[in-house]
């Protein structure tokens, strides 16, 4: 059975692009528009990998990651964060919150798939 990936982003265009790329690559995709929704969707589905933006309304990506890491089901699930900042503080903050890795915007579909491949066995 193909793996399910949750993409969390308040930008519809980015979400569309990510979802489209992932579906093309044969993944199931579920979407959420902010951290709060992301938590909900993650808890209502069995998700194998999460790709999340950091800057979002209601609940930002870091808080969502922290929350997810508190759930038994998502303790070890790979979580990738999307960040425009190439600076290390943001990445460190993400790692501290429990993110597995990051993807610096702008990224293209190939890069996205490459990073997914890095943190999740096909």
């Amino acid at each position: 059975m193909s793996k399910t990936i949750l993409t969390v982003d308040d930008s519809i265009s980015i979400r569309q692009m990510v979802a489209f790329t992932l579906k093309q690559a044969g993944f199931n995709v579920v979407e959420a528009s902010d951290g709060e929704q992301g938590l909900q969707v993650a808890r209502n589905n069995s998700v194998d990998l999460i790709i999340t933006d950091l800057n979002m309304p209601n609940m930002d990506g870091l808080q969502m990651i922290q929350n997810l890491r508190g759930d038994a089901a998502y303790k070890f699930t790979p979580i990738l964060m999307l960040t425009t900042e190439s600076d290390d503080t943001k990445k460190m903050a993400g790692k501290q919150a429990g993110a597995t890795g990051w993807l610096v915007k702008p990224f293209n579909p190939e890069q996205l798939l490459k990073v997914i491949n890095k943190v999740m066995a096909a």
Binding site: T77, M92, G98
Partner: protein, 694 residues
Amino acid sequence: MTIDMAQFQLTFLEEAAEHLVDLESGLLELEQHGQTDMSAIFRAAHSIKGGAATFGFESIAEFTHVVEFVLEKARDGELKPTEELTSQLLQSVDIISEMVKAVREGTDVTPEGREDCLAALQGYIENPDRGTAVGLEPTSTSSPESRLLQITFKPKPSMPATGSDAANIIRELANLGEIEVSCHTDEVPLLSDIDPEKMYLSWDIQLSTDATTEEIEDVFVFVEDDAEISIETRAAVQSEQQSKSKESETSTTGKSEEKPKQQINKKENAEANKESIFIRVAIDKVDQLINLIGELVTTNAMVEQCSKKLDADENQTLKSAVVEMSSHTRNLQEAIMGIRMMPIDFAFSRFPRTVRDTASKLGKQVNLETTGNQTELDKTVIEKIVDPLTHLVRNAVDHGIELPERRQECGKPAEGTIKISAYHRGGNVVIEIQDDGAGLNREKILKKAIEKELITTETAADLSDEDVWNFIFDSGFSTADKVTDVSGRGVGMDVVRKNIQALGGAVHIQSEIEKGTCFTVSLPLTLAIVDGMALRLGRETYIIPILNIIESIRLQPEQCRTMQDGVEIVDIRGEYFPLLRLSEVFGTTEENTTSQDINAGITVVVESDQTRLALQVDELLGEHQVVIKNVEDNYRKIQGISGATILGDGRVAFIIDLSGLVKLARENGRFAKASKFGALKMAQTTQRQEEVAA
């Protein structure tokens, strides 16, 4: 895999436009109240930048990056949100808008002032980090030669907590060449002491690869702080590469503890707009639905008509099915029209900016109040009404509101107020733009009108106020003392009225000197379908929009009088209305026409442009929901006709445009000049004027 990014670009552009609106309103709020949700406006800029970079709009990304940086500093309190700064930021919003627009329209223009604005913004930040580096792109160009690497990988026990799996890393290495892995288990504790969530293993890896050092390091990029990693070249083929890899040897751990925790945005706006689930649909799909439902409504009418002719006893089931189908069709139509409905806020949201810019240019103080922002209107109507409304708003600031000193002389507060409100009235949406400014100057307008030979000095005195105000809609008519770059050239007001009328709407003015002016724009909810009354003139069928009809009445000959100038008026319960015999207007006077005798046909009292008049027709045929078909597209504009429709029996009927009809009748001399009927105008008009005065 190649993926065409173009398909997401449109979504991005639309999204960017929405973010720009948020950004602008946030900045305006900041300017007015000294505070706003900085995180929200930062996020808006941030999203535009991220999207622009992803979808290949580098100039937008580059520019927005600087804007974002300034906003970030302002958000974190490092920059004071001075008026100067907000102005600069507002200007930058315009520039981004223009860039977005240029992309959308496929024009390759750099907005004016982009560089200056960029420079000014950069002045706010000593050290703008222009880096938009891409983390994962291989940056090395060193020629890959096959060599043997010795890698040790010793994760910290806590590594699994971030979802990293050592197996993935080894798998990734294995993809780069030939691999030999040995696992060290000596640190695994006794079973009783094992914490299953911790990592106790470490690995020695021999990798024979032609991958660059960067590529190898890239494998560990996510875990470099969670593990001890060393990469050594065992059998160097190239000395140059050896030194290279030596440099990168043994990157050790421990950074994570020392780093201060990044400030994280608090969960703000708890009340926050919970985004309900939306799907984005291309507008032409919706338009197609609307066209289809239009056809369905027509076909339904045909079926209805056919079924009426059938015998009720024999066809009972069919008849009740047809009734049901009609009701479903109607519901379906309402639902589909609802799809395209949008809150008028889409138009209103740009007015704060218009008012601010115009007012500051003219040195005026203006406060803008809007109400009824959630009033819904067809998207196409909103799109077409934005420009006329903007013009009216700008005029209100320019011509309406006086300079602060002048206002104080008149005993008014220095700050003027413009109120924009929208509400439903009947099947129309009414938008009012009201200012508490100088009001229109009757004498000045009359003088100008006489100058332009629109009227003579003699007739001037007869004109009602509203007739006088209407002169400002004539092209080339401006009473502004001097032409400014804001307004005063006299172009525009005629376009405003033309555009509103083209939408099937109307605009009215109420004004009182020193008290202010109110423009009332009424618009139909939708352009596609109208509830109409079918009426017969000779052998032809015409449609009048139901909304315009006040009553229908069969008159007695004594109720009809002819005035000296040949104009007929009718007396209905003591109220006098001009009478228009439609068959004469449309030239359908034929043998079957009965409307020569006032009591043979029927008289329909209609209201248009706040004027009531009586129309003499042969027969009323009943209410129909008619789908408006454009005549202009296929033929040319016909005065007095707003469109055509296909009737249930397949025949074509014209839809009467009442305001055009009045004009046509006037030209034909069948209708006296408007001034005569000043007294006949809706009671409401007077009432409203009283309200304005009060």
